[in-house]
Symmetry: C2
Subunit: 313 residues, 2 copies
């Protein structure tokens, strides 16, 4: 079933130990949409400026992504400048030019109103809540946020959290949101704020899913589930890894008829798979060109590096 | 087959957010020996002082551990004082009183010379190398070390590394030893120094095994393997978690007739299992009283939280 993602379509200028790129296509909604497009239909709501050219739109349409919700506004697109050093685990933001994003008012095209799966990428929770309200009939809502909204927009974020089936955040965000350093207690507190399930991303160590009794229709509450990340000898550019994880995760979920614990676990692996591809090249390059066969092979690799009994033996 | 561990038997004074203990039995060899004792016979070489009483020795003998190699010396036993805060991932050392350990000269009892599995716990690499040389017929040698030896005793450590089948260290130590921030490149560099295989511990995120073509008899080089750690709502005292991991890991290996990739993977899980028990109580309390049934049940729990297909479905 189709996923609608609302979030940023942007240009990124990035420096990592492997090189430097200037104004490459990026943004949370872009990484998410490309990653999810290998699993299901994807629709995008975002705003871009006059620097968003037909060649940029073609990156979406080449993957069959519906771009009717990408609004054009006078001015320049959102532009992020960042650099990575050391373990590549954390970006240093050097500049955030909101540009047309500053006055972003998400508009939902008529053609999108039958969407069943909604993803609220990391934007102002006021806008996340507005989109959620405008889509009363969605079957599932997942979302992301970041330290800035947690710290300074807690009341607005609380409104969004109450509506979420799954929240996807990283370790630091989980600690900040809950005020707890222990990951299990942090997860319980976060789920008490609304999300039925919580996915906490650990960067190079993978991700953990936490469940509540509201996670699945039958009321069962599985143990936490830990998905690995692939040990990579070369991480070219970590930008968008988390959004690509979310895209693989949610894309797979939306492609399945029913949300079960087994489906959720596989979705965690597909999240890791898409995140591992994303970081192999700068920007969205790798996510544009990966094949379904490569995705399937890497899924098996994730199984091999984490399962006791492998097909090889 | 029997394992011989050489390392510290000590007293620890520890403060964590869950409380405070004074002079509880600890030391790397103690945690290792107790964890390994659930899988195979264990022998210990260490030195203790006059404060090491029959009740302390009984902790070992109650688990069937051979204590003939624990030498008594005049004075006090090694005493470590530390505290944990926040995520409990790292201890702050407040005091290290070497006491009798300062003049530790490992002596190998005649009864130990047929040992097939040697574990060199974290002590001066000069002593590690001496014990290794005195045991020329061992079948397998595993070891641990720490930042202090890596930084200031590199030449001595290099001698030990050349003899190791498996080195078990944590992320920070792997980075320091290799000078590499990328975990895959770090592992390659470390294995080039000698260890046939490398186990890197990630604290609450589990552990990763890296292999070389010298890892297994057939020359096969499996992909890295990632074992989870159990998300725990309450970590009472992380002291000895790494040594308990090593004990579970090596104890299981030594109990198996042949070292295969499948055996290595299960050993990684048993390492995590014993580490997860160790942190549930202060000192060695939990490791003294765990049952084989609890170990087996937790092993299945580790499978459940990391495997796509679980028995429950």
């Amino acid at each position: 079933m189709a996923i609608l993602v609302v979030g940023s379509v942007a240009f990124d200028s990035i420096e990592t130990p492997h090189g430097k790129v200037d104004h490459c296509l990026g943004g949370a909604a872009t990484h998410f949409a490309l990653a999810a497009s290998y699993f299901t239909d994807v629709r995008v709501i975002a705003v871009v400026g006059e620097d968003f050219l037909p060649k940029h739109e073609a990156v979406f349409t080449a993957r069959g992504i519906d771009t009717r919700g990408i609004e054009r506004a006078p001015g320049l697109s959102f532009h992020w400048t960042g650099s990575y050093a050391g373990t590549l685990n954390e970006a240093q933001t050097l500049g955030t030019d909101l540009n047309v994003f500053e006055r972003f008012e998400p508009k939902i095209p008529e053609a999108y109103t039958d969407t069943e799966y909604l993803f609220l990428a990391n934007i102002d929770p006021v806008l996340q809540a507005r989109v959620r309200s405008a889509m009363p009939n969605v079957r599932m809502v997942c979302g992301d946020t970041m330290n800035y909204w947690i710290k300074d927009h807690a009341a607005n974020l609380a409104v969004v959290l109450r509506e979420l089936d799954v929240l996807l955040i990283n370790d630091g965000e989980a600690r900040m949101l809950s005020g707890e350093t222990n990951s299990v207690l942090a997860a319980e507190k976060v789920m008490a704020m609304g999300p039925k399930s919580l996915v906490v991303k650990h960067g190079e160590y993978g991700a953990t899913a936490f469940f509540s009794k509201r996670s699945f229709a039958g009321g069962e509450t599985p143990r936490p589930f830990r998905a690995p990340a692939l040990p990579l000898a070369e991480v070219v550019d970590p930008t968008g890894a988390g959004d690509s994880f979310a895209g693989g995760f949610y894309g797979y979920l939306a492609s399945q008829p029913k949300l079960t614990p087994a489906v959720f676990r596989k979705a965690m692996f597909y999240g890791g798979v898409m995140g591992s591809f994303a970081v192999e090249r700068f920007g969205t390059e790798r996510l544009q060109g990966v094949t379904r066969a490569e995705i399937d092979a890497r899924f098996e690799l994730f199984r091999e590096i984490s399962h006791l009994d492998t097909a090889a033996e």
